[in-house]
């Protein structure tokens, strides 16, 4: 019985591979990741794929502790980016975030949890349906020895849940950079008997309620997510709403106002 279970996925993957080969095999992964075939089929749905230097993923060469690994994604020189998916190949949950830049630059930054060394990749889809892929290999074998503070061990964790901090920095070319931090344990459901409990959606909207940027977040985003966006500036004054929801239906809703020019 055990052997059957072991063989079945192999047979299946052979069948699937044969299928892909006829539909056009995936291009060779420059990172040689063992999960590339799965990423190609399950996340990119066998779409047309280009490994593209214009999709830049920045992260440290080596992660110091595996709980707050910074990642930024910037697409530079590609028009009409409709979505960007962030994938950590060797995490038990690969898909980390999906960004929709409605009226925002194709850029976002956040921090992720990593179970081991892995390629972190961004797949930016353009209007023509093509996936443009960039990535960076991050060694996460250790270097630090930090034990993360577990906020739920504190008696008052619930009173701070989904509290929002935020600030706006006007940048060049009519862009406002917004950084927000949301208090949330972001439990993956893979540890002990703690169920998955994580923020699922985050939106930046203007005063009229027009969505400028949307981020779908998954379990591997770090505890107390800190997320940076760059949106079309609202003007000299004004602000943005920050709203969202976690997988238990708890609401996130806040407003951040531009600091008056001094």
């Amino acid at each position: 019985m055990g052997r059957l279970f072991r063989i079945a996925p192999m047979v299946l993957s052979v069948l699937v591979l044969a299928n892909v080969a006829s539909a056009g095999a995936p291009p060779k992964d420059p990172f040689n990741s063992p999960m590339w075939g799965w990423v190609y089929e399950e996340i990119l749905e066998q779409g047309q794929v280009i490994f593209d230097d214009r999709v830049k993923v920045d992260a440290p060469d080596s992660a110091e502790g595996n709980f707050q690994v910074p990642v930024s994604v910037r697409v530079d020189g590609l028009d009409d980016v409709t979505e960007i998916i962030l994938i950590v190949d060797l995490n038990p949950i690969l898909k980390t975030a999906k960004f929709t830049p409605n009226k925002a630059r194709p850029y976002f930054a956040l921090r992720v949890k990593m179970g081991q060394a892995s390629v972190i990749r961004a797949a930016a889809r353009t209007k023509d349906g093509v996936w443009h892929l960039g990535g960076k290999y991050v060694d996460a074998s250790g270097g630090g020895c930090t034990v993360p503070s577990v906020q739920m061990a504190a008696a008052d964790w619930e009173s701070n849940l989904n509290n929002v901090q935020a600030q706006i920095w006007p940048r060049e070319n009519g862009v406002d950079r917004i950084r927000t931090r949301i208090i949330h344990p972001m439990d993956t459901g893979l540890s002990g008997n703690i169920p998955a409990f994580f923020m699922e959606h985050l939106s930046i909207k203007n005063a009229e309620g027009v969505e400028l940027a949307h981020l779908q977040t998954f379990e591997p985003v770090s505890e107390d997510p800190v997320i940076t966006f760059e949106v079309d500036a609202v003007g000299e004054t004004g602000g943005y709403s920050i709203s969202g929801m976690d997988n238990n239906g708890n609401e996130i809703s806040a407003w951040v106002e531009k600091a008056p020019k001094s």
Partner: protein, 317 residues
């Protein structure tokens, strides 16, 4: 049927090779006399690597009529054993005690080699080794590999709870500090004027910050500067007879805090902060590029947490 056999024989080959390779590893520790009765083993200024086996730290010993006082035991059981053998070549006297300065793995994982002697440390250090020691040990196995074979955590059993004591002809002063680690013990041998500063002080090498509280660390450096010493043994880097190591450590830490706070005010995000150019004056510090990035990891999340203003809550409730 054949495949398991091939696999097994492959494993046996590995098993046969591994010990031979491990046996050939040696730190080649040589005691250097820095003052009367006082010796150190000086490590490299590097970060942990497969090549250096974790020998990046300064350990030392003081010979007294009542036996040898060992200060820190290095990164592995192998290091501890080599240290003990090297001490035996200098003096036939027994080990009187071991004193561990703080709970970072390169300072206490050689404890195993000193069985039979009491091991002293600050109470906070003992608690931290008890709770985090195994994880640190595992982490060093990952970073330096076979050098660690057989290394296990030995928690110090004796709590340093006084300001000093006389051991043989040597008068020791215990200075309990904080900031580099949750607790840092500096030891001044008042008889010789040698100050074992632990990792409170780095010389020609970038300070490390995995458990740092920079504010407390800077206060501790002020305290160390008040001390009338003749020679400082820093945790990492060469010994020095003046305040230069304290000055270097302070200057770097002050710069580090300022650059991170400024970056947070300017709205930089974490990867951008890691990519900042370092000032030329720090470029001569060993490992500074890598150590700076590690420090961003350690310190940035708290700075962002503290600096980001609260947004207006619009939840209906």
């Amino acid at each position: 049927m054949k495949r398991p056999l091939i696999f097994l024989s492959f494993i046996f080959c590995l098993l046969a090779i591994a010990p031979t390779f491990a046996e050939s590893l040696s730190y080649k520790l040589k005691p250097v006399k820095v003052a009367e009765d006082t010796y150190i083993f000086q490590g490299s200024k590097e970060h942990f690597s497969l090549e250096n086996g974790g020998n990046i730290v300064n350990t030392g010993f003081i010979i007294t009529k009542e036996g040898v006082i060992v200060i820190d035991t290095g990164p592995s059981a192998r290091y501890g054993h080599e240290m003990r053998n090297a001490i035996n070549e200098v003096t036939p006297l027994p080990i009187n005690r071991v004193i561990v300065t703080h709970h970072h793995p390169d300072h206490f994982l050689g404890n195993q080699a000193f069985s039979g002697a009491p091991i002293w440390a600050l109470p906070e250090t003992i608690a931290a080794i008890r709770s985090e020691g195994d994880a640190m040990n595992e982490n060093l196995y990952r970073l330096v590999g076979d050098w660690m074979l057989g290394t296990e955590v030995i928690v110090p059993g004796k709590s340093v709870n006084r300001s000093g004591e006389q051991i043989g002809e040597h008068r020791l002063r215990y200075i309990a500090l904080q900031g580099h680690d949750i607790a840092d013990l500096a030891i001044l041998d008042e008889t010789t004027g040698v100050l074992f500063a632990g990792d409170q002080v780095f010389m020609d090498r970038a300070p490390t910050t995995p458990h740092a509280d920079i504010g407390k660390w800077l206060e501790s450096l002020d305290q160390l500067e008040e001390i009338d010493f003749r020679l400082i043994v820093p945790g990492h880097g060469p010994v020095i007879g003046d305040n230069e190591a304290i000055r270097q450590t302070r200057e770097y830490l002050q710069w580090l805090v300022k650059v991170l706070e400024d970056a947070a005010d300017q709205g930089l995000e974490m990867t951008e902060v890691m990519n900042l150019d370092l000032p030329n004056k720090f470029k001569s510090l060993a490992t500074v590029e890598a150590e700076y990035r590690r420090s961003v990891h350690h310190l940035w999340p708290e700075i962002v947490k503290r600096k980001l203003p609260k947004a207006v809550d619009r939840r209906i409730d």
